[in-house]
């Protein structure tokens, strides 16, 4: 236990350790919190749906909760059920086999809801495109507010996508 506590103390606070990302992150953070306060009573909940990705985007979504990005520190939290969610974060080209599950998840999310499509595949279908097995981009299946390109997009880009969706909602 001593070692564990010592390691926590030695590690310190790692959030925003990166100079060039630091500034942009801080700005994003301030705006984001203000917007979340205004639109979603101080907390935004996200349900992630992998609709057929290669799992690269999932790695970066997981990174959002590491100490460097500390998404939860902004009042943004991932939840287990679409019924608890304000936003769907959807990755992948939508495989035909996930089409119905995605639609049902969308229907189960209460209004007002936001959808952010993540990654080149979510934006355009990416390298997988449209085929017998793939519906292509997310907006072919459910309405999308914001699409974040990248293969995979960086955690900062994903955070900015979330912010942009919230701003769009405010207008």
């Amino acid at each position: 236990m001593y070692q564990l506590l010592k390691q926590i103390a030695v590690t310190g606070i790692k959030t925003e350790p990166y100079p060039e990302v630091d500034e942009s992150l801080r700005v994003v953070g301030e705006r984001l919190q203000a917007d979340i306060l205004a639109s979603f009573a101080g907390a935004l909940t996200i349900r992630h749906v992998d609709a057929g990705s290669c799992n690269g985007c999932e790695l970066e979504i997981n990174s959002l909760n590491n100490p460097h990005y500390n998404l939860e520190g902004l009042g943004i939290r991932f939840v287990a059920s679409p019924r608890h969610a304000d936003m769907l974060l959807v990755t992948g080209p939508v495989s035909r086999h996930m089409e119905v599950a995605l639609k049902r998840t969308y229907d189960a999310t209460p209004e007002p809801k936001l959808v952010v499509a993540i990654g080149d595949c979510g934006c355009t279908g990416g390298i997988f495109g449209e085929s017998y097995a793939s519906c292509g981009r997310v907006s072919n299946v459910i309405p999308v507010d914001v699409a974040v390109p990248g293969c995979p997009p960086t955690p900062v880009a994903i955070m900015q996508g979330i912010l942009t969706a919230i701003r769009a909602r405010k207008k």
Partner: protein, 557 residues
């Protein structure tokens, strides 16, 4: 056993007690290929099994235009190396391999879904990768498949009318009162094996899971909290990768290969490039090969760090998640700075690598890895001494050595159950031939063992990275790939962080990809997860699942 002339392309090889003449395939993999008849197909599999070998992959192809029929291939690991048997079919069926290698079962079901080729005598004839995207009489990997024709989702329609029923399950640890359910009504109705008895109920989970993970369906049959049976239904992520490969220029295919399973992008892009280089009989410059190994070991380190963090978190030690994800993030940022991509996608290309490593980058890697090693050692001692964590890890999700051997458990999970398979040790390619990899292994086969193997492998990979940086040859980082004629077949085989990744490649008209089969070790390991969870309680499932950390995308293709 005679192996006349090593692996030089075109040389012959024979296995004891087997009347099959193998031809060595060109390339970096110690691989042998033989065209066989139905009797030899089974004899070959049995001979390898008796030797103590295992099944790597099984797949089919539509060779009707070139040879007038379909073909089946099976890749096996034998003492000599990778053995590939090719069986030309006269009709649309072939002898079942599942009786010899149970791991073949799902691969055979997938082959039926995609090509309409049936394994005669298989005990489970249910569909596997096909849900609702195409009809039972359509076969996407046949060359005459018309893409685009697809059924509309009719929620009222019974989609599995006429589907084969669930098989009779015998042996294993499955309860005796097993009955077979009538088809459930909606959508992709799939006949799950139903467990009946007093107090038994089912928990359906997925395809959309309660976390940031990939989609799949798990059907638990439980009494109280104890799991009596788990049945997986995968294929939700099937996005037609194998079909997408068809007709691609060889050079372009590497981007797609690198996205079969994003967390193993280095392993896949290396395996694919290795296959292309075998087809073109080209050897990349030594510096490129050593850099590839550096990238592969870095990928292993990064993934193991993430897994160790999530394993701590799933056992309620959030400290572990924060610490390991912090270390992982530092590594990813180093990758971005040195190679331009956090996960090292598209750095390995046919012929070599796309980015060189400068001396200052090497220094950064060295100092980063020294610090990383110290911190991981400290975290390991914290994990080892944390009573609450060890209580959750030890004896949880147990897979015995015998079961692992019978069902063909491979990769990290296999090594934790006494399956000493590591291609970097047994069939090393350059530069592993000069690195003398020490295999991480454990016999207990529980979550604790899978954690221990991951720690061992991080330390070993750090050692390998240091050696690579010390001995990195100078010179070019890529060589040109000449045009490849049609009708050639080659393989790439790489020990990725999860297990061995195989890419089998065939060229067609104009030297383009005619057929590419990427094989993920998750195929072998998913069925073992069904076994590992038996007798455990439901809340331990996330922990057990994470300790395997299998790829859905790499499996569903």
């Amino acid at each position: 056993m005679t192996n006349e002339g090593g692996t030089a392309a075109g040389r012959q090889m024979r296995m004891d007690g087997l009347d099959i003449e193998f031809e060595a395939l060109p390339g970096a993999v110690r691989a042998f290929h033989a065209e066989v008849n139905e009797a030899q197909w089974l004899e070959g599999c049995r001979a390898v099994r008796e030797q103590g070998g295992r099944l790597v992959a099984l797949w089919g192809g539509d060779a009707r235009s070139a040879r007038g029929g379909f073909i089946m291939r099976v890749a096996l690991v034998a003492r000599e190396g990778l053995i590939i048997l090719m069986l030309p079919l006269t009709g649309a069926s072939y002898p079942d391999v599942g009786a010899v290698f149970p791991a073949a079962g799902r691969m055979q079901r997938a082959t039926r879904d995609l090509l309409g080729l049936a394994a005669t005598g298989a005990d489970d004839e249910r569909k596997w990768l096909r849900h609702t995207a195409w009809e039972a009489d359509q076969f996407p990997l046949r060359k005459d498949f018309v893409s685009g024709r697809r059924p509309h989702h009719d929620l009222s329609r019974e989609l599995n009318a006429g589907e084969p029923a669930a098989p009779r399950v015998t042996g294993g640890r499955i309860p005796e009162q097993t009955t077979f359910e009538a088809p459930a009504p909606p959508l992709d109705a799939y006949p799950f094996v139903r467990v009946a008895g007093e107090g038994v109920h089912e928990i359906p989970v997925g395809p959309v899971h309660a976390g940031t993970i990939e989609p799949g369906h798990f059907r638990f049959s439980i009494v109280g909290e104890t799991v009596l049976r788990l049945e997986q239904r995968l294929g939700y992520k099937h996005k037609g990768i194998e079909k997408r490969f068809e007709g691609m220029p060889l050079a372009d295919g590497v981007r797609l290969a690198g996205r079969v399973s994003g967390d193993s992008t280095v392993a896949y892009s290396w395996a694919y490039s290795m296959a292309v280089e075998a087809l073109a009989t080209v050897t990349p410059p030594p510096r490129a090969l050593w850099l590839r190994a550096l990238l592969l070991e870095r990928e292993r380190i990064v993934n193991h760090l993430g897994d160790l963090g999530f394993l701590g978190n799933d056992a309620a030690l959030a400290f572990g998640l924060a610490q390991f994800l912090r270390l992982k993030e530092d590594c990813l940022r180093t990758h971005h700075a040195l190679f331009g991509h956090r996960y090292l996608m598209d750095i390995i290309v046919p012929g070599g690598v796309a980015r060189d490593l400068e001396p200052e980058g090497m220094n950064r890697l060295r100092s980063e890895m020294n610090a990383l090693e110290q911190t991981v050692m400290l975290l390991k001692s914290i994990y080892d001494e944390h009573a609450g964590l060890q209580d959750r890890f030890i004896n949880c999700g147990h897979v015995t050595r015998e079961l692992a051997d019978r069902l063909g458990l491979t990769g990290v999970a296999g090594r934790a159950s006494g399956q000493a398979w590591d291609m970097r040790v047994e069939y090393p390619c350059v530069p592993y031939t000069e690195l003398e990899v020490r295999m991480g292994s454990h016999r207990n086969g529980d979550v604790a063992a899978r954690v221990a193997v991951r720690f061992d492998e991080i330390f070993e990979s750090l050692r390998l990275c240091r050696m690579i940086l010390e001995r990195l040859p100078l010179g070019e980082i890529a060589t040109a790939i000449p045009g490849v004629p049609g009708g050639r077949f080659g393989v790439g085989w790489i020990e990725g962080w999860r297990g061995d990744v195989l890419v089998a490649l065939e060229t067609g008209d104009g030297g383009r990809v005619a057929r590419c089969h990427p094989h993920d070790p998750s195929w072998q390991n998913w069925p073992l997860l069904e076994q590992a969870v038996l007798g455990n309680i439901v809340p331990d499932f996330p922990l057990i699942n994470k300790s395997f950390n299998l790829s859905y995308s790499g499996h569903d293709l």
